[in-house]
């Protein structure tokens, strides 16, 4: 990335911030639809809708609420999009316990639907994975952060245990790879947090749990059935998903035709 281009990126980031500030002018609480689970339910389902009507992305994510106004113009034309992110209970071949998806349908411009499912125990991984497969098969374009080398292989590996078929995707856009390609040499690392700070001008509060704490919290939740352990994990997953959407809009904004280009280049 040349110096010139980089500076233009920074300038544009600022502009984004201003836009976000504008969005803040019309605050409206996000609708929260955490369904009351019955005993038989294998997982807890957490649903949120982010639209102009609900006030966009709420302020508890990154300190201020905002809308992605130009998402429709820049990123659509590709049919429904699925942003997804899994949480697992550690490294190695260990269970997946949380699935987060952020869905975008071009028919509903400016609206996103967030769904986060949490397995109520390790034995419900199978049900969770089935649901994940259903979500993923709804779209021909998946968007993830490190999903190509982590989430997808992990999903396949775990699904094998239950004899589940994992859908193939026409195109799986791994935003981590895109970020690496562009800023690998300029940044100390390319973690999502770094992207948020350096590119998106977003700042997670101190409340955000570090990834290393996630497995332990889930264990505590399973052992105690107390949801308090999981709340920060759920927020962590929400932020990851929303940050991905913001990042995609950024990339499309700076590189017109980005989505088309990456698909044909890959």
């Amino acid at each position: 990335m040349s110096e010139l281009k980089k500076s233009s990126w920074l300038r544009l980031s600022k502009k984004f911030k201003e836009n976000a500030a504008l969005n803040r002018a019309s605050p409206c609480p996000a609708e929260e639809l955490t369904t009351q689970p019955s005993e038989e339910d294998p997982f807890l389902r957490h649903v949120e809708i982010y639209s102009p009507e609900t006030g966009g992305f709420p302020s508890d994510l990154f300190g201020e609420s905002f809308l992605l106004e130009s998402f429709q113009d820049l990123c659509s034309g590709e049919g429904p999009l699925v942003f997804w992110d899994l949480e697992t209970s550690g490294l190695g071949d260990v269970p997946i316990f949380m699935l987060g998806v952020l869905l975008y349908f071009p028919s509903q411009p400016q609206a996103f639907r967030l769904e986060i499912l949490t397995a109520k125990g390790f034995e419900y991984e199978e049900a969770l994975l089935k649901e994940a497969c259903d979500f993923l098969s709804q779209s021909r374009l998946w968007i993830s952060f490190n999903g190509r080398s982590f989430d997808y292989p992990r999903l396949k590996k775990r699904a094998f245990r239950y004899d589940l078929e994992v859908p193939e995707c026409e195109y799986h856009l791994d935003l981590l790879m895109q970020v690496r390609r562009r800023w690998k040499h300029d940044w100390p690392n390319c973690k999502l947090g770094t992207v948020e700070r350096r590119l998106l001008n977003l700042e997670r509060g101190k409340k955000d749990v570090p990834g290393s704490e996630v497995p332990e919290r889930y264990n505590d939740y399973v052992a105690t059935k107390n949801w308090k352990w999981m709340e920060p994990v759920l927020d962590h997953n929400r932020r990851d998903l929303v940050a991905m959407a913001v990042l995609l809009e950024r990339l499309c904004e700076f590189e017109p035709g980005f989505l088309k280009d990456v698909q044909s280049a890959d």
Binding site: G121, Y124, F160, R161
Partner: protein
């Protein structure tokens, strides 16, 4: 030689008849001179062979052989096992040496009087499947196999090798039963490597019961792979494999050699890392399956079921090729171990040289006080071994204990070094046992194989098929405990189709002495059966938990684990779900704990080698021993003998499992003094029994305490002092069936003398534990008993119990009845190893001589058995016995059998309680 044996000899043994039927003219010695010689020497009057047999034996001359290898002098037939023929520097021909030894040494009056039996087994010719002399087809093997084998001097396959290749091609699972050195490993290497030659893809998994065997086979395989020009990634995956090699084998390995423990603990739980192997698994080879028996065997059977289940998920249905030494039930055993219908190939087509078996009893000598005792077997063995070595006869000596191995080496070295003419031979003799460092052992194996060594003294460590090249003689110092083991060891001699010699020197154990008195009884005895019970609830439960970790269990899995019985499987799994070990969701049972269940499940009863033995102050390690052996031989003040050198044990750090020794030419060795106790921890069950103070089943702790040691001078065996030991006892927490003989009965029996009562009680225990394996589907080695006064404990030799004594509790009456029947039907006059005498020397605490030598043990046992069975009082026939009075001394599902449920629960508890001792392989 006693007259009595002449008399007995008039009855030819079936074994000898069988052996003698082999062809004589085809004997691989060019002409018949050897046979003539053998007949002459073995049957010669001076050595008293069975005269009747000599006259009446229908020695048939069979049709002339299809001699394949031209002149027999350069015919390397024995190379069908692909071993290079070691050459001895001596110019002498070992055949004539063995013959000369028989003729000259055994004939000497001082030796002849100790020899109770000599049996000659003539040579057996090679057998082939096809008649064609030029077997150009080679059973359809790839042409590269053919040219490679021809380079090795092999022009045809022996019948069992051919049958194996054919059977595998037909898609059958095959079990090959053959002797050591019969070219057994080719039976599996031929079809497996042929597949790689032809298809260039697929995977194979080889399982060996020990790490050393895998290493040994790897060397053979390397030779084949190179010779065939194959490009094949093959390697040993075990606890010693370096991390980079592990990674490489996971990624690229096509042929993996490993052991059941590693499969259980590493490969199966991480099947995802071995996806390629499981998806393409074509062949599974299991070698030495006869040794996979008892608790170990039942565990391995479950590991194999898990393996098949995982392979199935990845889409593979592998074919099994397994090899076994001679046992009485190869088909039943292999089918039960692998859960597949097997084709048995038990006609060993390899040629065999003539063999002479000698039974030798050490002399009875008189003490100064006029009493007599029999000298130990080492006294004879240490005298005979140098004579064998002097004649250039390559010999393996087998001792029962590690300490005897060291003593024997030391004594023989002393003898050899004491004479100028034999001094050089000392370097050609080594010892071999568990406890030496792996590289030390590999080095000894190599030197044996290359012919550098002329002799080796070993424990059972060399009994399994590590290739040590051809040997001429085998010296068995004491009875190895089983016929199968005797034959295995004896099979170590005679690899090269030459005349071989087996000398069995008897120990003082009753069974040794019995066989000296009745050698024909030995040759009529068939090798023991291998018994396993894969569905033993204690074992199955643990493996179901491991299996659930690998893939969630469904009722469909009954096809693997419960022979298709879904309600049994559901019952066990629901119980595990209730106990919180598994979680049920969507009809599947999941393992959800954080830890790793396979780590808690041990396949073997024997511990790992974990005491490290240091010499001096520094870091020089000279050996390693497992926990129990470490305590028994490395207590402070002990003399530890390592390759004949004595070391004084200065420090034993039990916690860190370190022993520090210094070299010390002590002139004596030490023997630990042991005391055994059984403590009842928790009563499990109890029922009334006639003439017994109730029959009980309890959790018990068997403690073996080392109370001290005695110092014994070398050679003279003089006791020169005692020492004290302060060590933790060796504890075995297990389950025991126990009962107390009521005082009334004790007093009644004591009227015949206290020896009558105790000898009888021991006799009952021996009968009972001897028959118990058939009732409880266990291996005799996993069951033991202990008599404490008038209380008898029969317990499982397995931490936490394994259900044997529990089953014996359920079937108590049946086993007692069988015991009495057995004692009645045994046609020995007073008691023999087949009934009331112990069959091996596994009892740690020696019996008092009065009890051991009671002349009518069978009568005494029958007396007590009648009482325990509530029958009419038995009148013992004690003719000739001195009867002078002596002073007295959770709720399961409806489908599950409640007994099975109880066992599952106990197994779960056991897993929690004992599971933490992980084993590192």
């Amino acid at each position: 030689m006693r007259v009595a044996s002449l008399h007995r000899a008039s009855k030819p043994s079936a074994y000898a008849l069988l052996k003698i039927r082999a062809s004589l003219t085809k004997a691989p010695f060019g002409d018949q001179s050897l046979f003539k010689f053998a007949v002459e020497c073995s049957f010669s009057a001076s050595l008293v062979m069975r005269g009747k047999l000599r006259k009446e034996e229908p020695v048939k001359k069979t049709e002339s052989s299809q001699e394949v290898f031209g002149s027999p002098a350069n015919a390397p037939r024995e190379q069908n096992g692909l071993e290079p023929t070691p050459r001895i520097t001596s110019s002498s021909n070992p055949d004539t040496q063995v013959e000369a030894f028989i003729e000259e040494v055994l004939r000497l009056p001082k030796n002849a009087k100790g020899i109770e039996w000599i049996q000659h087994e003539p040579a057996r010719d090679a057998q082939f499947l096809t008649d064609s002399e030029d077997d150009s087809n080679f059973h359809g093997l790839d042409s590269r196999w053919k040219s490679y084998l021809q380079e090795q001097g092999i022009h045809r396959l022996y019948s069992h090798q051919g049958e194996a290749v054919d059977g595998i091609r037909e898609g059958k699972h095959v079990v090959v039963v053959s002797a050591t050195a019969s070219g057994k490993s080719l039976c599996y290497n031929l079809p497996v490597l042929d597949h790689f030659l032809k298809k260039g893809k697929g995977y194979a998994l080889y399982l060996f019961p020990t790490k050393a065997l895998a290493q040994d086979q790897m060397r053979t395989l390397d030779g084949h792979i190179k010779g065939l020009g194959l490009s094949l990634e093959a390697g040993v995956f075990d606890g010693d494999t370096e991390p980079h090699m592990r990674k490489r084998l996971k990624q690229k390995g096509r042929l993996i050699l490993t052991n059941p423990d590693m499969l259980h603990r590493s490969i199966l739980p991480h099947h995802g890392g071995w996806a390629g192997l499981f998806a393409g698994l074509k062949y599974i080879v299991v070698d030495e399956v006869h040794s996979v028996r008892g608790i170990f065997g039942s565990n391995v059977a479950n590991v194999i079921r898990r393996l098949k289940r995982i392979a199935k998920r990845y889409g593979a249905s592998p074919q099994f090729i397994v090899a076994s030494a001679t046992i009485s039930n190869p088909q039943e055993h292999a089918e039960s171990l692998l859960g597949e219908k097997m084709q048995v190939i038990d006609k060993d087509g390899s040629p065999r040289g003539a063999r002479t078996v000698v039974f030798w009893n050490p002399p009875l000598v008189e003490r100064p006080d006029g009493t007599k005792y029999r000298k130990g077997p080492l006294s004879v063995a240490t005298r005979i071994l140098p004579e064998l070595l002097e004649r250039g006869i390559r010999t393996i000596g087998f001792c029962q204990a590690r300490s005897s191995v060291e003593l024997m080496l030391r004594y023989v070295w002393d003898r050899l070094k004491g004479n100028k003419s034999t001094k050089h031979l000392a370097e050609k003799l080594e010892s071999y046992r568990a406890g030496y460092l792996p590289n030390e052992r590999r080095e000894i194996e190599r030197r044996l194989f290359s012919g550098e060594l002329l002799g080796v003294v070993s424990t059972n460590a060399l009994e399994l098929g590590i290739d040590i090249g051809g040997l001429d003689a085998c010296l068995l110092v004491g009875y190895p405990g089983t016929v199968a083991s005797f034959l295995q060891r004896a099979g170590r001699a005679g690899r090269r189709a030459r005349h071989s010699l087996v000398i069995f020197v008897a120990g003082s154990e009753p069974i040794d002495q019995y066989f000296m008195r009745h050698p024909d009884a030995f040759f009529q005895k068939s090798p023991e059966a291998a018994v396993i019970e894969p569905e033993n609830p204690y074992i199955l439960t643990k493996h179901l938990i491991c299996a659930a970790y690998e893939l969630p269990l469904t009722l469909e899995d009954a096809q693997w684990f419960t022979g298709g019985d879904q309600s049994l499987l559901r019952g066990i799994l629901d119980l595990l779900a209730q106990g919180g070990q598994l979680k049920k969701a969507n009809g599947k049972y999941h393992y959800v704990e954080k830890d790793f269940p396979a780590k808690k499940v041990k396949l073997r009863t024997v511990g790992d080698e974990n005491f490290t033995i240091y010499e001096g102050k520094g870091e020089k390690i000279i050996g390693e021993l497992d926990y129990v052996a470490g305590l028994l031989s490395l207590y402070e003040g002990a003399i530890y003998i390592h390759r004949s050198e004595t070391h004084f044990v200065e420090e034993l750090d039990v916690e860190n499992q370190i022993a520090r020794l210094r070299k010390d030419d002590s002139g004596y060795y030490t023997q630990a003094l042991l005391q055994k106790t059984v403590e009842e921890d928790q009563a499990l069950e109890k029922k009334a029994w006639p003439n017994l103070d109730a029959l009980k089943l309890s959790e018990v702790t068997v403690e073996t305490r080392i109370t001290g040691f005695k110092k014994v001078r070398f050679h003279t065996v003089e006791n020169i002092g005692y020492g004290e030991v302060d060590l933790p006892p060796i504890r075995l927490e297990t389950v025991a069936l126990h009962f107390e003989v009521p005082q009334v009965l004790v007093e009644q029996a004591m009227e015949f003398g206290s020896e009558f009562f105790f000898s009888g009680l021991h006799g009952v225990c021996r009968l009972f534990t001897g028959l118990m394996p058939f009732f409880v589907m266990g291996d005799p080695r996993d069951i033991d008993y202990f008599i404490d006064g008038n209380t008898v404990y029969i317990y499982d030799v397995f931490e936490g119990g394994i259900g044997y004594s529990e089953k014996a509790y359920e079937k108590f009456e049946g086993i007692l009845k069988a015991s009495l029947e057995h004692a009645n039907s045994c046609n020995c006059p007073a008691g023999c190893p087949s009934c009331v005498l112990p069959s091996s020397s596994r009892y740690e605490v020696a019996l008092e001589p009065g009890i051991r030598e009671f002349p009518k043990p069978k009568e005494a046992a029958k007396y007590l058995l009648h009482a325990f069975l509530g029958l009419e009082t038995y009148k013992p026939n004690l003719e000739g016995v001195d009867l002078a009075p002596k002073p007295n001394p959770l709720e399961p599902e409806e489908a599950l059998d409640p007994q099975v449920a109880r066992k599952v629960e106990r197994a779960m508890r056991g897993l929690k309680k004992f599971g933490l001792k992980s084993q590192e392989d």
